[in-house]
Each structure stands twice: as C-alpha cells, then as structure tokens.
C-alpha cells in the first residue's frame, strides 16, 4: 500500500471490520454521506448501505445510549463522537451504562462496542474542539481506553477494539490524522493492551501516548543531538489497562522517567503512571518521576495553544532536571 495516513488506516480498519462481521455497525453524526468531519468513515455508507453505516440524530447521549441497546441485542456498534468535548453529553451513558452493564448484570450482558473520539489539540480548533479527556474515562472501571499513535497501530488497534468483548473508548489523536507512514494494510501490530518501545535508549524513559508520541520522539532525537542523552520512548497505547510490565522494565533499565501528555498535569493520567513507577520501581529510580503536560487551564484559543501544548523544549527541560551525575 505504501504511504498511509492515520485517517486512511482507521477508515480501512472500519471497512475491513464491516466486511468481516455483519454485526458491526457504524453510526454517529455526519458519518454517512459526508464520511465524518474528519473523513474517517468515508465511503462506508456507500459500500455497506444505510443499515450498516448511518447518520444518527444529533445527540451524543442518544448515540451511545442506543448503541448500548444494540450491543445488548448482539450487534457491535462503533460510534463516532464528533469531537472530544462534544462527547460530554454522552458521559452518563458511557460511565453509568456502557461501563457498568456487565457488572450490574453479573456478567449476563456483554457490551462489545467502540466509542471513537477524536481528541487533543494542535489543529487550531476553536474552543471545545481540543480537549484531552482521557482521564475521565480511565477513571471509570469497566472501560477499556486506548489511543494509537501511528497509522499501523490505528488500523490494528481499532480492529482489535471492535472485536473486544468490552466497551472501548478509542481516542484518536486528531492532530496526527494526516501523519503518513509506510504501512502495508492489513497490519497486525502488538496486541492492543501492550505498550511498545518506539525508540530504545539507556539514560531516561519518555512515556507518552496518542498525539504526544511523535513529540516525545522528536524530543528524544533532540536530546541525543543537543545533549548527548540516550532516550528511550515508550508508547503506552493502552491507558486502561496499563501495561505496567513494559513501563517498569524500561524505567528499571534507565532509572529515570518523564511522562508526557497534552492534558492538564493536575489529576492527569500521568499521575497514575507516576504512582505505578514509584510503587514498582522505587529502588531503581535515580530521580523523581517527572510529568510534562498542558497547563491547568481550559484549553486555550488557537493563537495561544502552542504555548500550552508540551513541546521539545519543555521535555528537554524536564529531562535536564532529573538529577544527573554531572549536576550532583
């Protein structure tokens, strides 16, 4: 296939899933004729018909709530929330029903459904179009929360999410939709719940997911050329569950860890990763675990977002403060 964007990879994953299983349904706002505002569902309504890929009325609780009912009846709905902050009307259906129905019914009802959410900033979106909402979902038992960072993972993880037995919140880093990579589809990458090492290194571990993996890779390269540090980058991929073993193996090796995410640092997902590292790798640590994230502010306007989003400079600063021998 050659050069593939993440958007194309997601589209192909949906197409292949619709082909593979007649129980897969795709619906949401503008996903039919338009193909979604990000074109992730492009061509699916035409190919599979109105019964399999359709526009719903404009109401997010309605979309997720009806998906719950469809999943109860044996379908595998894949629903699209148009933007991160516009998934909030569906919060009750996601947290009180999608996440809990297995538990409430003592395992009698399984809900195989995927809630796709384009998330994060960096695209110059006006307010409510750039939130990093992952912590709301990772804090909810019963949900699987994943975020791909590459086109190959986007394809492979979405397919796996659609075949999963539990509801998956599938966070798509919208600023990376148009990132291309050399990929042969269908691609099968590591299982969805595994973290992977994107770049091996020995001095410090950068832990990132979704949109920040590419940023972490850039920072790692800059750390090498500018400071001569050998940085390892771990792409978490799955936020809940967290692949603790891969994270800890890396941090035990390097002795230093920096977690990078776009979301505000306070109460952010990075706190969970830091706590895990402290609990399991304390004796291997050369320095306190650091976090680099957005400021604790509502997501800013397009002309200011570059100041808010973590970037190479901030990551390098965080690395520089990790109590290196030469500074002691």
């Amino acid at each position: 296939m050659g050069q593939v964007t993440m958007a194309q990879a997601l589209n192909t994953a949906l197409r292949d899933s619709l082909r593979a299983d007649p129980n897969v349904l795709v619906f949401g706002e503008d996903v039919g004729a338009l193909g979604g505002v990000f074109r992730i569902t492009e061509g699916l309504a035409a190919e599979f018909g109105e019964q399999r890929c359709f526009d719903s009325p404009l109401a997010e609780a309605g979309i997720v709530g009806t998906a719950v009912g469809m999943a109860m009846y044996g379908f595998r709905p894949v629903v699209e929330m148009q933007f991160d902050a516009f998934a909030y009307p569906a919060f009750e259906q996601i947290t009180s029903h999608a996440a809990k129905l297995r538990n409430r019914t003592r395992g009698a009802v399984e809900l195989p459904m995927v809630i796709r959410i384009p998330y994060g900033g960096g695209i110059g979106g006006v307010e409510h179009h750039s939130d990093s909402s992952e912590a709301y979902y990772t804090h909810t038992p019963g949900l699987t929360v994943v975020s791909p960072a590459t086109p190959a993972d986007a394809y492979s993880m979405l397919q796996e999410a659609i075949t999963a037995a539990d509801p998956v919140v599938f966070l798509e880093p919208k600023r990376r939709y148009w990132t291309k990579a050399e990929v042969e589809l269908p691609a099968a990458t590591e299982p969805m719940h595994r973290a992977v090492i994107r770049r091996a290194g020995t001095d410090v571990t950068l832990l990132a997911y979704g949109p920040m993996v590419a940023t972490a890779m850039e920072a790692a390269e800059a750390a090498r050329t500018e400071e001569g540090r050998d940085v390892e980058v771990v792409d978490l991929r799955s936020l809940s569950p967290l692949d603790e073993d891969t994270v800890c193996a890396s941090v035990r090796k390097t002795g230093r860890a920096v977690i990078v995410h776009e979301a505000p640092v306070f109460g952010g997902y990075g706190a969970e990763v830091a706590a895990t590292i402290n609990r399991r790798c304390f004796h291997y640590l050369e320095a306190p675990v650091a976090r680099v994230g957005g400021f604790d502010i509502p997501y800013p306007s397009p002309k200011l977002e570059e100041h808010h989003l973590p970037h190479t400079g901030r990551i390098l600063d965080a690395i520089a403060e990790l109590q290196w021998e030469e500074d002691r």
Binding site: L25, Q51, S56, P57, A59, A61, G62, V64, G65, T66, A67, V68, G69, M70, A71, M72, Y73, G74, F75, P77, P89, E92, Q93, S96, H97, K100, L101, R102, N103, R104, T105, R106, G107, A108, V109, E110, P141, G142, T144, A164, A165, D166, H193, P241, L242, E244
Partner: protein
Amino acid sequence: MTATELNPQQLLPGEAPVRLVDESGTPVQAEGFELPASGVLRELHRSMVLGRRFDRQATALTKQGRLAVYPSSAGQEACQVGAVQALGAGDWLFPTYRDSVALVTHGVPPVEVLELLRGGWHCGYDPYRYRAGPQCTPLATNALHAVGLAHAARLRGEDAAALVFVGDGATSEGDAHEAFNFAAVWGAPVVFFVQNNQWAISVPLDKQSKAPTLAHKAIGYGMPGHHVDGNDAAAVYAVTARALSEARAGNGPSLVEGLTYRMDAHTNADDATRYRLGDEVDLWRERDPLDRLAALLRESGLLDDASAHAVDEEAEGLAADVRAQLGTDVHLNPDELFAHVHAEPTRLREQADLLAEELPAEQEEI
C-alpha cells in the same frame, strides 16, 4: 410511515384519557378501543392482586431492614400490569426502579426482582432470560437502550418491540427527549410508557412540564401520543397492546401516558406529608385500580367470592415465599466484586488477592 405522511391530528391524544371502565366499574365506550376479552380481564385482575400483595410485602420488608429501600408501585398497578400483559412473546421490557410489580407480572421471580433493592447485587435477573433490562435508576437513560435494542431487532428482521417505562419527572430529562427523537426518526418499534403518577419525589407535574398533557409531547417528534386512564387496567392494556402491535408491524414508535397516582411516598425513606396534602391521596384512594376492575368482573360474572378468594390465597402464598426467601441473609462472595468488571480482569487480580488475604482475618475477628 414517515411523519410527513401522517396527518398531524392523528398524532395528538384524544380530548380525554382513553377509558374503558369507569370508576364504578361500569364499561364505557372509547372510540377505536374495545374491552379486552374476559380471559385477559381476569388475568389483569389476578396480576394486580398479586402485584399489590407483593408490593405490600416489599414495603413491610423495608421496615424489618430486609430491603435497603423500596419505591412502591401502590396505586400504579393498572399501568404496570396492563402494559406488561400487552407484551408479546418476543418483546422486551425496560423498567425503572419503580416497576417491581411490572417485573413480577413479566415473570421475573420476586426474589430476583428484589435483589437490587435488598442490596445484594445491582440486578438480580438475567436480562436475556426474561427479555427485561435491569431496573434503571438514572432517569430516562433506559429509554435509549430500548430504542437501540428495538432498532437492532428490526435490523435483524425480527418483529420484537420494546416497552419502556419512564416517570413524569423523567420526561424532563435530555435522554427522554433524545430517545423519543431517535425512535421516531429511525421508526424503531418502541412504546414509551409514561407513568404519570403526578409526582417526582416532591415536585408536582406543573413544575415539570407545561405541555397540555405529556402525551402531547409525542407530536413534536412525529409519533402518536395516547393518553389513557392509568387506573383503568383494561384501557391501559388495550392502548398498549395496539401501540405494541403497530410498532411490531413497522409503523414506528408511540408514547402512551397513563394518568395515575403514587399512593405511597417516593420510597419508604421519603416523607410525603412534607409536600402533599392528605385529601389528594384520599381522592385517589377512591379511584383504586383494583377495586374498579374487581367491580367490573363481579358485575359481568367473571369474579365471585370463591374465585376472588382463590386469587387472594395465591397472593398470600407469593407473599409468604417472598418473606421466606428474603428472611434469610443474602449470601455474597466478596470475591465476586472483581468477577464482572471486564471480560479479562487484568489489574484487578492484585486487588482480588489483597481482598482474599483480608477475608480470613476479618472472619476470625467475628
């Protein structure tokens, strides 16, 4: 049929609630509806007697601390029984916390119905076994599940319909609006049954809605709205049965408003004297749905002392069973806390191990 093909007048409820039996138990005419057959009437009566006895027993169990809480169905038996009896073999029921009598009528064993309210587990029955969603406490959210499931049945080419209960207060929730709209747009085979018991905890209907009736809401979504005397089990049955068969036939959803009254407080934990007047309750006591149907049955020779006694005996038997089954402590294995969270428990294994270590120690302390 799409909304545009329908005459808007057909979507509006009639001037007065549909009624087939008046308060004295005398049959009355209602255009387009007939009094259900004798067998159905007898069954409605029997289920209401059983339902009310069940309900009284459940309320009594709260006083003994055997139930954590119980929202009573007293006064609303005609709505719950009438609507549920109208369900077909493949139809689904989506109840709320209020609808224990509906579930018992639907065939769910009483002890399984009460599992939620006794505090054992959140849902005591297998939804697939009884084609009934879990009793739903987040208001109106179950309406969307009903729409999704009904639409799914239609996609499969099956003619199942879904009946979902919501309260009058719950019609103010966004999810109710979204469900009405989704159902109408998709033509989903759903009947939204609004039990208008006139109170949402302490808030009366006029603080909830300015619609002429809740049934009038339906026209705004392009589906028919029916207004029915919710204390007339025969009328509730007839109206709901027709709404369900229209839904199964592919003619889309409808909304049925049953006008009734919550005789008890919101739950055993509530004190209704703080917000409503005694004479209102007395007024509705005179409109009792069981007395009304019993009077009709006696008048038409379908019920005599012997058959009434037999139903009462059956009800006492049911109550005795409920007492016996709920009189013992519920047995729960704390390890089950972790069993149904994910298909694969992943990180919960460690937490389960921790709890397992604590348990023998706790038991020794006792």
